[in-house]
Symmetry: C2
Subunit: 215 residues, 2 copies
Amino acid sequence: MRIGVLGTGVVGQTIGARLVGLEHDVMMGARAADNEKVLGFASRTGGQAGTFREAARHGDIVFNCLRGDAALDVLTAASGELVGKILVDVSNPLDFSRGVPPSLTVSNTDSLAEMIQRGLPETSVVKTLNTMNAAIMVDPARIPGPHSVFVSGNDRRAKGKVMDLLRSFGWRDNQILDLGDIASARGPEQFLPLWLRLWGALGTGEFNIAVMRRP
Amino acid sequence: MRIGVLGTGVVGQTIGARLVGLEHDVMMGARAADNEKVLGFASRTGGQAGTFREAARHGDIVFNCLRGDAALDVLTAASGELVGKILVDVSNPLDFSRGVPPSLTVSNTDSLAEMIQRGLPETSVVKTLNTMNAAIMVDPARIPGPHSVFVSGNDRRAKGKVMDLLRSFGWRDNQILDLGDIASARGPEQFLPLWLRLWGALGTGEFNIAVMRRP
């Protein structure tokens, strides 16, 4: 599949490399096509390097791995390239302006995923994977047991395609939880404050939550 | 131990009955001492019935099981009875004024637990148990596996006493996670939007999350 990855940080690099490993045709996009990190990605993985707009054009599915505070501007500028496509939103609206741990730039009665969906009405936005570190996103077997990944979006067909990608990463059906429409992304985004405190308490990001039910 | 339980809803009734079963000397407090629900509690369990103020006076440890939107007023009015005591805050700042699922009355850069701690500076506020339904709070064996309960508070000794109570409910040490100071309660409180969506997706409140680590 042709896949675009927007963002050159740890999340973009990890997802991009995993997708190349799964033999997808991947282009990572950066602000400038000669950005060191995007060139590094291309030389390490055999994927392609491009601008945000080029990577958005390249993908039938596009991953938003941008920083939360940059995502909306970049995506809006590339919105013409994303019409009719699936945008997998992995970003978190973290606000470091008040110090650490960060607060959120949007929360409670709105979410970054909803803002993106409103800004790109002809794109199917699917929120997922934002509730764990990058290594676990693409290799859930790092953590034992039926830990969980959440999926939110308005377009059922798009969620189905994203779930297929999750399965290809190693997620099993009993680990994938469809929370509902894109407004349900408020849940996973507002989980971040708890994730950050758990990270502090455990001294590692190598954890995830499992939703465990009464038998 | 002498324990006060403020609030007569499902959470207060469930915690109060469990504490009586553990042979504590429990008084449930309501707005009026002849409130039907508090009299029902007393006749069913053998615990005592009182006003909010009387229950606060009664307890060496006091549970806040009030509705989030009522908690601060009730606690502030009874603050004189809570000096030097431990207040276990189980409440959630749910805001139903915009419909269902509810949003939060406070979030992101503050929390209900912090507001209560600021309002009661001579009381040790410990946030816990607010991330699951009442039946699981007092009987964690309802859910298999090492699912988690979180503890936040500024006073280490108070957290230790609350953890002892949690152990008496059936929580094992590997299930109890100390998140840090009272500001860390922002995490568990902001988990509620995810909890509510999971409740909708699963069709039951009989679940909890487990924090699972890489071995």
